[in-house]
């Protein structure tokens, strides 16, 4: 649910990073936080357990400049990936405007990726949202491990598992090194802002009539 403040001329959008446990959602946010100018970012909030798993969510507010005279503010959230935290995952999805699905390239996580995507679809459905109508991109993380001896999934396998039906844009990434992190963020921000703007701001007259 985007929040549009006509008096301050601000638009707030919520982008959620979703994916199985340990796939690197928080790492994405940490990299963004560490590389951005302090004028454009807010405080990074994380609620994690002792073993540095996300317990509830991470939140990073960003300021993306102006469109049509409106300040665009984006809040990046991550969810806890572990299956046990299903209830909290659903809570974080409330009011989502855009999604990044972070998939783990490790071969041992193949099933977990598919489970997590199905879990996302089911949770969205409970909010009457359809995964096909929301802005979504997929990030294949940990691509730096392909060259290592650890067994990883090929892009074709990941595509077949996760993107054969969705057919959305995908990004290869190595979040610990920052590769692909900003490419993912840029694309999903663009898509999300366009989605919210198309719904409201590009037709301001009609919108005002509805509100007033």
């Amino acid at each position: 649910m985007a929040l549009i403040d006509l008096s301050k001329r601000e638009v707030h959008c919520k982008i959620v990073y979703y994916g199985p446990g340990r796939c690197g959602k928080t790492t994405n946010l940490l990299y963004i936080y560490n590389s951005m100018n302090s004028n454009a970012k807010g405080k990074l909030l994380t609620i994690e357990t002792k073993g540095d798993r996300t317990l509830f969510f991470d939140l990073l507010p960003l300021n993306l400049g102006k469109i049509n005279g409106f300040d665009i503010r984006i809040q990046l959230y991550t969810v806890p990936g572990q299956a046990i935290y299903e209830a909290t995952r659903k809570l974080v999805l409330k009011g989502v405007d855009g999604l990044v699905f972070v998939a783990d390239s490790l071969r041992v996580r193949r099933k977990k990726n598919i489970e997590s995507l199905n879990d996302l679809k089911a949770n969205l459905k409970e909010y009457n949202l359809d995964i096909n109508s929301l802005p979504l991109v997929i990030q294949y993380n940990k691509r730096d491990l392909v060259k290592s001896p650890i067994p990883t999934l090929s892009i074709e396998e990941l595509e077949e598992d996760l993107n054969s039906e969705l057919q959305v844009k995908t990004f290869e990434a190595a979040a610990t090194k920052g590769i692909g992190v900003f490419e993912t963020l840029k694309d999903i921000s663009k898509k999300t802002v366009r989605y919210v703007a198309n719904k409201h701001l590009l037709n301001p007259k009609k919108q005002m009539e509805k509100v007033l």
Binding site: M1, A2, L3, I4, D5, L6, S7, H12, K14, G42, K43, L45, I47, F56, F57, L59, P61, Q75, Y77, A87, T88, L91, V92, K94, G95, V96, Y127, N128, V196, K199, H200, Q207, V211, L212
Partner: protein, 133 residues
Amino acid sequence: MADLVLTGPALEKAKSQINEALIEAGVHTALLIDQAGNVVASCGKNRKDLDVTSLAALAAANFGATSQMAKLIGEDDFSLLFHKGKRDSIHFAKVGDELILVTIFGDDVSLGLVRLRVAELTNSIDKIFGQGN
């Protein structure tokens, strides 16, 4: 969940009601937030050390978590929550289906007064934003 569009007049009206009912009664800060964790309006002392964005996100999550707890014991949700601190306390109340009013006050203000004022406010604020949609 529909998108929330705020118009200047509605927001000003809500703010002036919050100021009148809570801030003038001695409450430090009152935040009106939505259930996704966005700050709709912030009233009272704008303390620099208070991270309003984080507070709103946590308050919304807290509200969501307790309403899941409520469902586990067979309630729909808990319409108000109260956390007591040594000096300052926080009171949360649901406003309509989408909004939450968060009130932060010191030990010089009685909880009873806050509850009474908040109960009146939730009705009037709900009406203001209810008309807009």
